[in-house]
Symmetry: C2
Subunit: 122 residues, 2 copies
């Protein structure tokens, strides 16, 4: 969940909500709600970029943060939506994923398989 992530990141830096908001130019009241999942993650990518910057995240973690934000907003990540090939795969993925109670193990398997397919070299 986006809100857990960003709250944890702020606390790791031992910043008060207000201090943090001042540094990244966000409204403390709104951010308080964002950190508790009451208000949605920011939709504005520039803000997400700023956060990733501020927390000095690497590319993978940054993407993960972006994904979390998108998902919590019930949105598709922009880069996925913009990639025709990936977007075309979504209906099949959704169709396959639902209608069967996916156990945790099956889910793990599934994800492993996806990983393997994308890294045929190992």
């Amino acid at each position: 969940m986006f809100h857990e992530k960003v709250k944890a990141l702020r606390l790791e830096k031992r910043l008060t909500l207000r201090d943090f908001c001042q540094q990244v130019k966000l409204d403390p009241s709104n951010w308080s709600k964002v950190e508790r999942g009451i208000n949605p993650p920011p939709g504005d990518v520039a803000i997400l970029e700023k956060l990733a910057d501020f927390f000095e995240m690497n590319d993978a973690d940054k993407l993960e943060l972006m994904d979390a934000a998108a998902i919590d907003r019930n949105e598709l990540p922009k880069d996925i939506a913009d990639n025709d090939m990936l977007a075309n795969a979504l209906p099949a993925f959704f169709r396959a994923a639902r209608g069967h109670e996916l156990t945790d193990e099956k889910l793990t398997e599934l994800i492993e398989d996806i990983r393997k397919l994308n890294r045929p070299d190992q």
Copy 2:
């Protein structure tokens, strides 16, 4: 694409845009744009239900229509978003899917694998 689907469905019934809109209580001008992908698919689920009803779609086709609408709106299908287990799988799916150029064949494989995982009986 949602807009292609609904246009095709309407034409199959040999209905003019205006007639169709009158029957399902939609604004013709807006619908004209929806059918051409200028305006987004309706966000209101009730309208999508009405369409599925009108076209007498079975459950699978109805879901497909819902998915198409969601995807064209850059949204996650509601039922997926509401299912914690599925929602939890999304980051891994996105991560796995991007960063590697998925060829059409790989994509087919991937989807087949997902299907298999969900139908261990065959």
